[in-house]
Symmetry: D2
Subunit: 303 residues, 4 copies
């Protein structure tokens, strides 16, 4: 059981009221499938998972699994502070029918690498579902070390890694360490250097920006797979221009609002989701920022 | 409605199985009341709150409220990643009958100070219970800024501050800014400089070490209140020696394990709780470490 | 050979051209002596030492030693990246006739605590002058650990500590560890909690704000020494208000400019130094900021 | 005037006494030239520049310029705390005859991006020599922001960037922003992802590991230039194995010692330099560590 390709971490659409907007989620999923992506990741950092409680997370996963209906593999984020809570999310996700769960290290409390390894072992054993390690020290404030990932992969605790650490050199060493390991996959979250990551052996990409332009990432992937690295680079550089949407609100709002807000505003402008509402207490992007985002979307040919 | 004095952040005792040990919690609460503390704080960082799910948190609070039975004010930590989840915890805590909830800034996702202020406003409004702001950047990786605290206090959103930032200079400025504000209270979590914090105007202390020696902190408080600063200092310096228990396991286990483990091991050695079990995936202190802790307890006259 | 009391870290006055303004330095020194301070610290962080080359540092020290002429102990900062360069500064300072040098850990390159201890040993041995350890992790990005300080003090490598770490709890433990050590002194740089630091056993204070109001810190010291803690606190709280000058330019200029600029602007407004020029590439505070600083000086009775 | 290719940041060989070992430096330079590198960078972080005073730095540069004798471009690090000191180093380097100087942001004191830009402008104007910006936040604790680099390049203040930030995504955006700019060059210091960096448009590489295996980096470069990306990747992956030497002493000594020590030990084992002595107060790698390094050198065919 291995995975590869473009697996966007879906935004979680909201109504103006702040409630889940499942109709928009349906459209977002169909937009992804139409674009040819290879899997879907619900409730990741881009999905504002930590802003949602268990009930809300369950509704998102149930709706997604039903909508996707086996057309693509479904990964579910089970982001939470520590082992028991993550295990609970993982059990719920399994019951709903996702293919694998994606779990970070514990956060808020400081744990060491031995404790982090036990964290993953416990989740794997108790929830009995394939587990992907999610390395995102920018949010968790702890790095999943190279030897931790390698040990967990070799013993079969994790089936893959989603690397959002930005530390491409360590990611490369993990890929080299596990090059001979059957089925292990390493996905990069570094959406601006996907061509590089694939060239060094990454098996796929989980691009937040793929919400807005899934077809672009699919073209990048296909160009790489057929060996047309120049085209992969051109597509990546176009997506680098698109990524400027993420900077539009930085400074006026918090970083999380700026990123989630840019994604949702762009999706609204492209007609996929109904509002650019973000989860409480984040702030919504304003009309001026939306205008800047429209300009960037037009620059890269998306509207 | 204001508060003052010694308010220990209670450990959450566990059985060897990892389940809640409510009998030990009863003994711990009675140990506190016998020592003369002025309030109790359940489910703080020292209470390993983030390792517990909602059901477990509810059991702890229900048991504590029933056991305390109005003899002391009860503060409940509602530590979680973002606004809606914190609000849910706060509603549950209110229903159980605690006196106030203690909430950190959002974490994992990066929010700015304006968003943090909205976070507190929403919790206060929707849960309809007194809110204490909990500043612990070591865990949340964001500081509650002085102007944020002052604005929230002046508008009535928060009734007090628990300052575990270690930034005594900024804490002092908050105390000065709000010196004329009716009822606002500032509690320090800096358990090694309580005499200093009281001398600069703090209204109380929330000492993790107060689990192990509540009577010591009560003596410190009483000495300060009667103006015997030399005695307050002597008691504080004795407690500084006691605090060496926190360093015993550092390096061998993660920081959170080292601190929670030291507290629980000391409480076990003092005969208050049954085990030194810590919540998953933390590691338990070993016999060698327990022996070092016994030695320190003996040095300060606690066993 | 021990030291105590108020030892301001002097600003290094500049002309509009950026050259040293030794006439202003003379006036600043006499202003300090008139206020009754107990020592003077040249070329610290507040003295913008790292902006000055060896020749300029030599001119400052020669002028200061000549001007002070034995009326007060003179401490010289020897802040530089690594051991040999610091040793060179220390030798030059000794030849000029200062009483002790004040040295940080190496910075830019990452060294561990064993290497830091060797750093101090080498400086002490080769420069043959009393050495004070200067703990300022905000600038060096490494903490002088408690055990490092204690070992260096006990073996006679350092005569004292200037603690600008802001970690008052660790500072207190160092003071307790070395309470029985003859002559060791611990100075705090935490200018807003001097009353607290003295109450926990600090031997003196090195307040950047003491440039602007040396008499205030001397009054605080004297009140503490005669046991009038209430008066010490009142004076400290007045100085907390004065410290608001440090926030005036934050956001518009870099942090170093904001602090050095506030000190120099206040000294200019008080008529002590000629300009508020700061060393390259820092930015000078503007007229609007100067007006805000004048307002604060008036509020605390300094103009 | 632009540059490209493999430009190793040379180690600075020392005798057992700690004095400069210029004979070893000669051999190291000839080793580089024989391997076909395209330029040499003296007194970078790998050259332990911050451990050397001005006199020592001058001796290194004079010896290198004389030895190289125009056979390759010479870059000189002018790493120091602030503008005037850097400018002094730059003037000295110009007088010695280097081709360009490489300057970091100020460090120890906190400056903002506007001040950093002024820093570079002043150095460029007063030293009158081409300036390369050196982005190494791991040492300086400040990032050279994308807009700072672009502005400085477009106005002609800097001719290039050495990016040792590890933030490949921001580096890529700088390369894209300046793609149309005549002569600007971007060198990466990320020695484990050189193939990626070149593929995204980097003009060269400054690999610390290139001290040990310059021929490997030259092969990587040549493979890339002739379009043989598979061979570039193979060579890079071989160099990733070589990079394990950098981890051998981590934990036992400080990070700077571990890295400089690994480079020098490997060079000694290869017979290029006489000792593995590192600059004070760093610690020398021991025999056990040297044996591990020999093993790695053998694994990649270097001994």
């Amino acid at each position: 059981m291995s995975y590869s390709g473009v697996v966007p971490p879906l935004a979680t659409p909201l109504k103006e009221s702040g409630d889940l907007d499942l109709d928009s989620l349906t459209r977002l999923i169909e937009f992804m499938i139409d674009a040819g992506v290879h899997g879907l990741f619900l409730l990741g950092t881009s999905g504002e998972a930590v802003f949602h409680d268990s009930a809300s997370r369950t509704r998102v996963l149930e709706h997604a699994v039903k909508t996707i209906n086996g057309r693509l593999p479904v990964f579910a984020g089970v982001i939470d502070t520590a082992t028991d809570r993550v295990t609970d999310h993982a059990r719920a996700a399994k019951a709903i029918g996702v293919d694998a769960v994606v779990a970070t290290a514990p956060f808020y409390a400081q744990t060491d690498q031995a404790e982090i390894r036990d964290h993953y072992r416990y989740i794997r054993e108790k929830a009995d579902i394939p587990v992907v390690a999610y390395d995102i020290p920018f949010c968790t404030h702890v790095k999943l070390r190279r030897d931790t990932i390698v040990e967990l992969a070799q013993e079969g605790t994790i089936i893959g890694l989603k690397d959002s650490s930005g530390e491409d050199r360590e990611f490369r060493q993990v890929l080299l360490d596990l090059a001979g390991h059957p089925d292990f996959f390493g996905f990069t979250g570094a959406e601006l250097v996907v061509d590089s990551a694939l060239a060094m052996g990454a098996h796929g990409v989980v691009p937040g920006l793929g919400n807005v332009d899934p077809a672009g990432y699919v073209r990048l992937w296909n160009a790489f797979k057929r060996g047309d690295l120049a085209e992969a680079r051109r597509e990546q550089e176009r997506l680098c221009i698109l990524s400027e949407i993420n900077g539009v609100a930085i400074g006026r709002v918090g970083l999380s609002s700026a990123l989630s807000g840019a994604t949702k505003t762009a999706l609204r402008e492209r007609g996929i989701i109904a509002t650019n509402m973000v989860a409480r207490p984040q702030q919504v992007l304003n009309d001026n920022e939306a205008a800047q985002i429209r300009k960037i979307l037009a620059d890269v040919g998306l509207i």
